[in-house]
Symmetry: C2
Subunit: 221 residues, 2 copies
């Protein structure tokens, strides 16, 4: 009489494909963003995605591999969009420090506003940037450094008075500024006693561009 099997049992091949894969990545993204790498539990990711935990391993390998897949998915999108937007900015007649900055910032900005998934990735990205582990550093380099180098080249051309070392350093400053700003966007409100809260998001991006462009253009000391 032990043979009574509850009806919910369906190993096999019901929902395979990129669809399920993406759903797993979505939930993993949310969990990693909320709890960090160590704090996220594969069990919870699997449950939220409606699959068995062993399936994560079947698809992605270890926990670290899953994390990397999450990071590369959106990171690759952003890098690709930056590449396209930089090409467009360089070809446009209004080429300027501001237009290059916008080409760099817009992909992340739009991902942040695109919905909870995009916002989760921004948070996750901020975490990765704060992690000192060698693996996190490699990941960031692999995903982002190539596109960054092109932007440094473009800005050096636009700011011929500045040596490359100074431009490189200022670009590094810039990365910290926007990462923090995007991640903390909701909390900026507090410092300004609510005044920022009433500002439309598009205006905030403008503010950021103004701030960063002025910093980049500052004469060398």
């Amino acid at each position: 009489m032990d043979t009574s099997q509850p009806p919910r049992r369906k190993p096999g091949r019901p929902k395979a494909g990129a669809d399920l894969r993406d759903r797993i990545l979505d939930e993993a993204e949310a969990c990693f963003a909320a709890a960090g790498f160590a704090g996220a539990a594969l069990r919870e990711i699997a449950t939220r995605a409606g699959v068995n935990q062993a399936l994560l391993r079947y698809y992605f390998g270890s926990k670290q591999d899953l994390f990397d897949a999450v990071f590369r998915r959106r990171g690759g999108m952003i890098s690709g969009q930056r590449h396209v937007l930089l090409d467009r900015a360089l070809a446009a007649p209004d080429l300027s420090v501001e237009s290059v900055l916008r080409a760099y910032l817009r992909p992340q900005w739009e991902m942040k506003l695109s919905g909870p998934g995009g916002a989760a990735f921004i948070a996750l990205q901020a975490r990765v940037h704060a992690e000192p582990e060698a693996h996190a550093l490699e990941l960031r380099r692999e995903v982002y450094d190539p596109s960054l180098r092109r932007y440094i080249d473009a800005l050096c051309d636009l700011l011929p008075a500045l040596p490359r070392a100074v431009v490189s350093m200022r670009v590094a400053f810039l990365v910290g500024t926007y990462l923090f700003m995007l991640n903390d966007l909701g909390r900026l409100t507090d410092l300004s006693e609510g005044q920022i809260h009433e500002m439309p998001p598009e205006h905030m991006l403008d503010q950021l561009v103004v701030f960063l462009a002025a910093g980049l253009r500052a004469p060398e000391i």
Copy 2:
């Protein structure tokens, strides 16, 4: 024959006091910085500090309480130093955006360079700023927001053409910039193909001040 007690046994009261307490906080700081809150293990902290794990609980309470103690220790130092340096800057004849910026940046900068403990705290701080949990947010607010508000006031006086909302936002930008820069100081090297590596640290702080001061002074759009 079970009564043979190995000589290494010394419960009691050998090394009590602020000394041991600080050693525990030091090791906790290093572990939390390296692995994050969830990733750090109380067992390792205790081992590295040369004490039993239960002693952590006796001194600090839960893991979260220990973390908070770590954060408040150095955070309090920084806030205190900022308060003093801002007073001094406001009273000095060369009061300027730059001098206010330096008063804000110097405590963290010197902590970073003061040794491995200080550097560990900077890393930990960057992690806390990237964590979305409500508790982390409260902690940051409690430790840092009061001093931040004074700096916003001072900068508003120095930049009367800018509305307070804009100054507040730019100060928020600024926080991200220096946090990221301090934490990534060692890695900035890569982007500049080694050129930054040869720059003396003091010069890097100057570069940061120039960048931020220009951003703060940018005319409103």
